[in-house]
């Protein structure tokens, strides 16, 4: 199967999703990468080490990537007879995949947690909070476009391969391709990375306010844990959006996941249900999060969490 993987360069690295997807894609045969961004040797080396034999690179400059990247990838897919194009679920991935889909008239199979190729492309996705697995098959002509959730395939290098890099020229799309990025802001982060941390402490709306959020941070610092949040917390503006866990945020699989003031909505559960040990603190005994927990404490988080933090501090 002629497979392509989408990669976006972020701070000199290939996107994490690209390395995960390559780990899977290389089992399907020869794999090419469509890479956008600065185009550094370090990023190419990472892509090569994960199985990419060819990298097609589009320098994007200050242009908003969706439209030009989709047009360039459409042309490449046609020229090279791509049968499967895999994307992560990052914002740029979704912008490019969505526009590409409409451009070439092929649907997007989204939210994939597994992909199989056997004559046809099939993806597995989970619905209803991960309680039901749905298998969808791409019908009609190639290529199949697939959006894969983070961590569906753990990234593993396969060797030291150096890919052959080809520059792709910027398509001229007139008005549709004219949107630009004028500023980029990085919000500072502390502590371990949410997606690799062994312990994650997540807070929900039940924490109460941005001022009270410190109870989550103090517990996290005692356990050297990463801090995560529900979308309700992101939307309230208490913490930056990169801390969001769930369907539209990150997928985490730490050894221990502790959450406080999180109701356990389906869209949150899909992002954390595969954690090793799940501990939930919620004052509502009926909260759905308890169905997913190994240990559930029914009580006020502002009573339980500070005591826990104190006990750990005194050890």
């Amino acid at each position: 199967m002629t497979t392509w993987v989408f990669s976006e360069e972020i701070d000199g690295h290939a996107s994490a999703s690209a390395l995960e997807l390559l780990t899977k894609a290389r089992t399907f045969g020869d794999t090419s990468v469509f890479h956008i961004g600065a185009g550094s040797d370090a990023a190419y080396a990472e892509l090569g080490a994960h199985g990419a034999t060819k990298v097609h690179h589009l320098t994007i400059g200050d242009r908003l990537p969706g439209a030009p990247a989709a047009a360039a990838l459409a042309a490449l897919a046609e020229e090279h007879g791509a049968e499967l194009i895999m994307f992560g679920m990052g914002n740029t991935d979704r912008d490019v995949a969505g526009r590409l889909s409409a451009r070439i008239g092929r649907p997007v199979l989204g939210n994939a947690v597994d992909v199989t190729v056997d004559g046809s492309v099939r993806v597995t996705s989970e619905i209803l909070g991960g309680t039901q697995a749905v298998v969808t098959e791409a019908t009609g002509s190639a290529p199949a476009l697939v959006l894969v959730r983070s961590k569906a395939f753990p990234a593993e290098p396969s060797g030291e391969g150096v890919p052959e890099v080809t520059a792709v020229s910027m398509p001229d799309l007139g008005h549709a391709g004219s949107a630009v990025i004028t500023e980029s802001h990085v919000e500072e982060s502390e502590g371990p990375d949410l997606e690799v941390a062994g312990v994650v402490i997540a807070g929900g709306r039940g924490v109460g306010s941005a001022e009270k959020w410190v109870v989550i941070e103090e517990l996290a610092s005692q356990l050297d844990a990463a801090v995560g949040a529900t979308r309700a917390v992101i939307d309230a503006g208490w913490v930056p959006s990169r801390l969001q866990i769930g369907q539209t945020g990150k997928t985490v699989k730490p050894d221990v996941y502790i959450c406080a003031g999180v109701s356990g909505a389906m869209q949150h559960l899909v992002g954390m249900k595969d954690s090793g040990t799940i501990i939930a603190i919620n004052k509502d005994a009926e909260a759905p999060i308890f169905a997913a927990a190994d240990l559930g404490i029914v009580g006020d988080l502002h009573a339980v969490v500070p005591k826990l933090t104190e006990a750990l501090r005194n050890r």
Partner: protein
């Protein structure tokens, strides 16, 4: 400014839904509500229109049996609605939906299209980008803040590590996140006025589509199976008696993280 806002009607998320075992489609109850995600799009549309004496037209591809969700959005202040409903559309995938919506929007004329980032029930999260490509306009997505510039719009876009500021000239498409603005609640007056606002209903054929291009027939994907994922073993649930934190400490020791 002529603003087109895409709004989806969905089964009330408070009541759990089921899949039809034969068709694998969501069993749609007659009562549908406005997707909460789309209240943000409607509010952004109204605010932008108020700023420059513009109009807000709602577009929805939805069974028109229940228009409760559309009335909700009209009651917030939108001027009119265009519904695309057709038996032939049942089973449509996201791309077909986008083709239908784009055709309806183009027919009506627009300067700015506003949509949500992803719907609560379908959650494909690609309809806005598909519509933009079909209309051949730039797409500003994942917007958490929106302002009008001279001849265009400027947004703050959520990124993995923070946010970017992005700009496009009109015509364009804008997809907003929840939290971009505080959606207004319809007033009593708004609810009364909504009853008299025009709702046009179109079929796929009105927009130039044939039956084999839409619905199940037009979808380039098919669901082959739906199976239950094995549930996690039930855990221990305890009421906090002031000492429950000790149970957590014990479990953390067992998991060898302390």
């Amino acid at each position: 400014m002529r603003i087109a806002v895409c709004v989806k009607q969905i089964p009330d998320p408070a009541t759990p839904y089921d899949l039809d075992p034969d068709t694998h489609r969501v069993v749609r109850p007659n009562d549908q509500v406005l997707d909460d995600t789309d209240r943000f799009g409607v509010e952004v549309g109204l605010q932008l229109a108020e700023g420059d004496d513009g109009s807000v037209t709602l577009f929805s591809m939805s069974p028109s049996g229940s228009l409760q969700g559309i009335r909700q959005a009209l009651a917030m202040g939108a001027d009119k609605a265009v519904i695309i409903d057709d038996e032939a559309l049942a089973g449509s995938d996201a791309l077909t939906t986008s083709r239908i919506l784009a055709a309806a929007i183009e027919r009506e004329g627009f300067d700015l299209v506003v949509a949500g980032t992803e719907s609560t029930d379908g959650s494909s999260g690609v309809v806005p980008q598909q519509i933009a490509e079909l209309l051949d306009v730039p797409s500003l997505t994942f917007a958490r803040k929106v302002e009008v510039t001279d001849g265009g719009i400027r947004v703050e876009q959520q990124t993995a590590g923070g946010y970017d500021v992005a700009e496009a000239a009109l015509p364009a498409l804008l997809a907003v996140t929840s939290g971009v603005v505080e959606p207004r609640y319809p007033t009593f007056k708004g609810i009364m006025q909504a009853k008299k606002k025009p709702i046009d209903t179109l079929t796929a054929e009105d927009l130039g589509f044939t039956a084999d291009q839409v619905g199940d027939a037009g979808a380039g994907q098919t669901i082959t199976s739906v199976t239950a994922v094995p549930a996690r073993e039930a855990g221990e649930i305890v009421e906090d008696d002031g000492e429950a934190y000790l149970k957590i400490v014990a479990l953390l020791e067992q998991a060898k993280v302390i």
